[in-house]
C-alpha cells in the first residue's frame, strides 16, 4: 500500500508541472496586462511601461516562468499587486474559508445523495422513489447561483432568518453559531447539484447490486431487509459510488466559485475571479496551482480509499 501511494504521488508531479505551464501561459497570453488594469483610464503607453518595469513584468516570458517556478519550489509565491500582500498568506486564509464551505457542502451532498439513492433503490418505482427522483431532477437542473439568489431573497430579505452574505457577522459574531448561520445557505446551494448526481448514481449502483444472487440468498435466509440494504448491498455499491464522490468533490470545489460570489464568501473562488479581472498574475497562478494540487491529492486519496474497499483493485 505504501508503495502504491508513493507511486501515485510521483505520477502527480508531471501533472502539476503541466498545470504551472498552462496557467502561466494562459495568464501571459490573455489580452490586457496588469499595468493597464491598475492604471485604467490613465494607461498611457509610457505609464504602462514604467509600471510594468516596477512590477518586474518587462523580462522575457521564459525567464519570468523560471523565476516564478524556482521561487515557488522554495515556498515563495510572490506578492499580489492587487492586494499588496504575499500571495501565500492570501491563499491560505482564503483556502480555509473555501474548505469550510466546500467541505460542508461535500459532506451534505455525500450523505443526502447516498441516502436518497439508497431509499429510491430500495423501493424502486414506489411513491418515495418518484418523489426523490423529482427532487433530484430539480436539484440537478437549477443552476446553483440562481438557487443561491432565490434562497437569499426568501430566507434573508423576506423572512430575515439568515444573514445575506459573508462568513461572520461584522459585529458581535465570530463564534460557531454565527458561522453556521452564515454557512447554511451557501452550503445547501452548493451541495444541490452534486446531491442530485450522487443520488442518481447511488440509485443505479444499488439497483445493480440488489439484482445479484447473493442478495436473493440473503433475503431467502431471512436477513432483515434493513440489513440487506445497508449491510450487504450498500457496501458493495460503495465501490462504484466512491469514484463518483471523488469527481463530485471536484465539481463542488469549482462550483464554489459562483456560490462564493453570490454569498460573498471570502474563499479562493472569489479571490481567483477578482484576481483574473485585475490581471493579478501571481495571485491567479499561485491560486490555480494550489487548488489543482489539492484536487490531485484528493483524487489520490479517493483511489487509495477505493483500493482499501475493493481488494480486486491492484495496488
Amino acid at each position: 500500500m505504501g508503495g502504491y501511494i508513493i507511486k501515485r504521488l510521483i505520477s502527480a508531479i508531471p501533472v502539476l508541472l503541466g498545470i504551472t505551464i498552462i496557467v502561466f501561459l494562459i495568464m501571459s497570453l490573455i489580452p490586457g496586462d496588469p499595468a493597464t488594469a491598475i492604471l485604467g483610464s490613465y494607461a498611457t503607453p509610457e505609464n504602462v511601461e514604467k509600471l510594468n518595469r516596477d512590477l518586474g513584468l518587462d523580462k522575457p516570458m521564459v525567464q519570468r516562468y523560471v523565476i516564478w517556478l524556482g521561487n515557488m519550489l522554495t515556498g515563495d509565491l510572490g506578492r499580489s499587486f492587487s492586494l499588496n500582500r504575499p500571495v501565500l498568506d492570501e491563499i491560505l486564509e482564503r483556502f480555509n474559508a473555501t474548505m469550510i464551505l466546500a467541505g460542508t457542502a461535500f459532506v451534505l451532498c455525500a450523505l443526502l445523495g447516498i441516502l436518497a439513492g439508497v431509499v429510491s433503490a430500495a423501493r424502486q418505482y414506489g411513491l418515495g422513489d418518484k418523489a426523490i427522483t423529482f427532487v433530484v431532477l430539480v436539484g440537478i437542473s437549477v443552476p446553483s447561483f440562481f438557487l443561491g439568489m432565490m434562497m437569499i431573497l426568501l430566507f434573508a430579505v423576506n423572512l430575515r432568518w439568515l444573514p445575506v452574505s459573508g462568513m461572520y457577522a461584522i459585529y458581535g459574531g465570530g463564534d460557531l453559531p454565527d458561522l453556521l448561520k452564515h454557512l447554511i445557505m451557501p452550503a445547501l446551494a452548493l451541495a444541490a447539484v452534486a446531491t442530485g448526481v450522487i443520488a442518481r448514481l447511488s440509485r443505479s449502483a444499488m439497483l445493480e447490486v440488489l439484482r445479484q444472487d447473493y442478495i436473493r440468498t440473503a433475503r431467502a435466509k431471512g436477513v432483515p431487509e434493513r440489513r440487506v440494504i445497508m449491510g450487504h448491498a450498500l457496501r458493495a455499491a460503495m465501490v462504484s459510488i466512491i469514484p463518483v464522490l471523488g469527481i463530485q468533490a471536484g465539481f463542488v470545489l469549482s462550483g464554489a466559485v459562483y456560490i462564493e460570489i453570490v454569498f460573498q464568501w471570502p474563499g479562493v473562488g472569489r479571490m481567483l475571479v477578482d484576481a483574473i479581472l485585475k490581471r493579478d498574475l501571481l495571485l491567479v497562478q499561485g491560486g490555480v496551482v494550489f487548488v489543482a494540487a489539492c484536487y490531485v491529492l484528493f483524487n489520490i486519496a479517493v483511489d487509495v480509499a477505493q483500493s482499501l474497499l475493493d481488494p480486486r483493485i491492484k495496488t
Binding site: 490586457g32 483610464s41 499588496n84 430579505v157 471570502p266
Partner: protein
C-alpha cells in the same frame, strides 16, 4: 423505516435547516449597532496607502482617514485649504509656497509639519528615496511637474515646478496627494498599506481581509470630531448581493446602486442620494480615416443618437445628456451656453447625404464593463440601432475591459471607426489635455485615440494649463468647449450621476461632486 418517511426527511432537510437557523438568529438580529455605520463597498481595497492606489472604491475609505494640503469645497470641485492654511504662487506660476496648519498630529502621535510633507512627495517622486520601494505609485504623474519640495521652515513648504501647471492645486486635493505619517511608513515599510496612519477624522482600527475595513473616530482630530464612533467598509463585489444586504438591513449605506435596482429603495425606510460628478461618457470617432474623417458625418452621428432615450431608458435616469467634452460638475469652467446636440435623425440624414456617406460600414468597439462605463453593452446596441436608422451600418465588436483598453488606447487607426469611452477626472484640464490635443495622439503617449486635431484647441489648452488665474482659465476652457462641440470629435452622450442609498437610521449624508465619500458629518442612530 418506510420510503415515505425517508423521502419526507429528504424533502424537509433544507427547510428544517433553515428553521434551525431562524432560531439561532433570534438572538443576534440583522440590525446594525447604533453609532456604527456599515458601508457596502464594491470591492476589497488594494491598499490603504493613498499614493499606491487608483480606484475610487479605495479612495472612499482613504479620504476619511487622511487629508491633503487642499481639498474640494463641499458641494463643488473648487479647491480650499485643508492641511495647508494658505498659499502663495509665484508670478511665473512655478513656485507654490504653503503655510501649514498648526497643531495637527498624525494618528500615531507624530506631528504634521513641513518635513512630513517633503517626505510624502519625495517618497512618491524620488527614485532614490529610502522608502520609494513602498510603491509602485501609479498616479505619481499627477505630480510629475514637481521638481523639488523644500521645507522652508517647520510650518512652511515650497514646491518648485518645472513649468507652470495650473491643475497642481486640485491635484493636491486628489487622493494621490493625501498626507501619510512618515513615522508609520518608516515603521511598517511595504506593509504600510495595511497599517495606515493619517490626520483625518477617522483612524484605522482593523482590516479583516475580504470581510471589512474598520475605522474609528479620531477624538484628537483638529477640526470637528466625527458623528459616528466607527465606520465599517464591507466589500460586496456582487451588485445583487449588495442590494440584498441593503434590503435585509445588513448594511446602512451602499454606493453605486445598479439603475434597475433603484426602484426597490423608493419606499419608506431608505433614502436615495444622487450627485452629478466630473464624469463624461462619449464615443471616440476616428477622425483620421473612414466616414468620420468628415466633420459632417461626425456631427450627423451626434444628431442621430437619441441620448435622451439612453439616459432615461437604458440608464433609468441615473445620468444626464452631455453637451460637450467638459462635465457640468466643473461649474466654474463649464460653458452654460452650450446645448446638447438635439435628437434629429433628418438633419443627420441630410448631413450624411451631403458628405456622401450613405450606407457606410462602421466598426464599433464596445466594452463589457469597466470603471465609469455604466451599462456599455445596452448603450452600445441602442447607439447601433440609432445609427442604423440613418443608414450607417454599424458592426459591434465587444471586448472585456482590460482588453478593450489595450485595443482603444493605442489608437483606432486600421481597427475601428468608433469606440465607447468614459472618464472621471478632478480638473477640467485632465481629459481634454490628454485626449483632445494633437500632441496627445497615441503615438505621442496620449489618449487621443480618434486623432482629432485643431491648432486652436491645442493653443487654448496649453494656455489654460499655464494660466494661474482661475477666471482666465475658465474663459479658455469655455472657448475650447464651443470649438470641440462644433468639431464633434466625439459623440457626447452622458454625464453620470453617482448614487447611494442609506437606511433611515443614517442622517446628514450627502454625496460630493468629486465622487469621494466624506463621512465625517454623518450620524447613525
Amino acid at each position: 423505516m418506510t420510503p415515505l418517511s425517508w423521502s419526507r426527511r429528504g424533502l424537509m432537510a433544507a427547510v428544517g435547516a433553515a428553521l434551525v437557523a431562524g432560531g439561532l438568529s433570534g438572538s443576534a438580529s440583522a440590525q446594525t449597532p447604533p453609532g456604527v455605520l456599515i458601508v457596502g463597498q464594491i470591492a476589497e481595497p488594494k491598499s490603504l496607502d493613498p499614493a499606491a492606489v487608483t480606484a475610487v472604491n479605495d479612495f472612499r475609505i482613504l479620504v476619511n482617514v487622511y487629508e491633503g494640503l487642499t481639498r474640494y469645497k463641499s458641494g463643488t470641485l473648487e479647491v480650499e485649504p485643508a492641511l495647508a492654511t494658505g498659499w502663495d504662487i509665484s508670478e511665473d506660476g512655478t513656485e507654490y509656497t504653503f503655510k501649514l496648519r498648526e497643531g495637527v498630529s498624525f494618528h500615531d502621535g507624530t506631528p504634521f509639519n513641513a518635513e512630513a510633507v517633503k517626505f510624502n512627495f519625495d517618497r512618491m517622486l524620488d527614485e532614490n528615496h529610502p522608502f520609494h520601494d513602498t510603491g509602485p505609485f501609479p498616479l505619481s504623474f499627477f505630480f510629475g511637474a514637481v521638481e523639488k519640495t523644500e521645507a522652508v521652515d517647520d510650518m512652511t513648504v515650497k514646491f518648485t515646478l518645472n513649468a507652470p501647471y495650473a491643475p497642481f492645486l486640485s491635484n493636491l486635493a486628489y487622493p494621490t496627494g493625501l498626507m501619510v505619517s512618515p513615522a508609520a511608513v518608516e515603521a511598517h515599510g511595504k506593509e504600510f498599506g495595511r497599517n495606515p496612519s493619517g490626520t483625518g477624522p477617522f483612524k484605522f482600527a482593523e482590516w479583516r481581509s475580504n470581510e471589512a475595513v474598520v475605522v474609528e473616530r479620531n477624538d484628537a482630530y483638529w477640526g470637528e470630531v466625527a458623528g459616528t464612533q466607527a465606520v465599517v467598509f464591507r466589500p460586496i463585489t456582487d451588485a445583487n448581493t449588495r442590494v440584498a444586504e441593503m434590503l435585509a438591513g445588513g448594511i446602512d449605506m451602499m454606493v453605486e446602486v445598479p439603475p434597475t435596482s433603484l426602484g426597490q429603495f423608493q419606499g419608506d425606510g431608505f433614502s436615495v442620494a444622487e450627485q452629478a460628478g466630473p464624469h463624461v461618457w462619449f464615443l471616440i470617432l476616428n477622425a483620421k480615416e473612414g466616414p468620420f474623417a468628415d466633420k459632417r458625418v461626425r456631427q450627423a452621428a451626434n444628431y442621430a443618437i437619441n441620448k435622451e432615450a439612453i439616459v432615461n431608458d437604458v440608464l433609468e435616469g441615473t445620468a444626464t445628456v452631455a453637451a460637450g467634452p467638459t462635465p457640468p460638475a466643473f461649474a466654474w469652467a463649464y460653458n452654460e451656453a452650450l446645448d446638447p446636440y438635439p435628437y434629429d435623425p433628418e438633419k443627420a440624414n441630410a448631413l450624411i447625404a451631403e458628405a456622401g456617406a450613405e450606407g457606410a460600414e462602421l466598426t464599433f468597439f464596445v466594452t463589457e464593463g469597466g470603471s465609469g462605463m455604466l451599462d456599455p453593452v445596452p448603450m452600445g446596441t441602442a447607439i447601433q440601432a440609432d445609427l442604423q436608422a440613418v443608414g450607417l451600418n454599424v458592426k459591434i465588436e465587444t471586448y472585456e475591459w482590460n482588453t478593450f483598453l489595450g485595443e482603444v488606447n493605442p489608437g483606432l487607426e486600421g481597427k475601428a471607426d468608433m469606440a465607447e469611452m468614459a472618464w472621471m477626472t478632478n480638473d477640467p484640464d485632465t481629459l481634454p489635455y490628454l485626449a483632445l490635443r494633437s500632441e496627445a495622439w497615441p503615438d505621442k503617449g496620449g489618449f487621443n485615440s480618434g486623432y482629432y486635431a485643431n491648432p486652436k484647441v491645442d493653443e487654448l489648452l496649453e494656455a489654460a494649463r499655464t494660466a494661474t488665474d482661475q477666471d482666465e482659465r475658465a474663459r479658455l476652457y469655455r472657448e475650447m468647449q464651443t470649438i470641440v462641440q462644433e468639431d464633434a470629435p466625439w459623440v457626447f452622450v452622458a454625464n453620470w450621476k453617482q448614487n447611494a442609498v442609506t437606511s433611515d437610521r443614517v442622517e446628514n449624508f450627502g454625496l460630493e461632486p468629486s465622487f469621494l465619500l466624506h463621512l465625517q458629518g454623518v450620524v447613525k442612530n
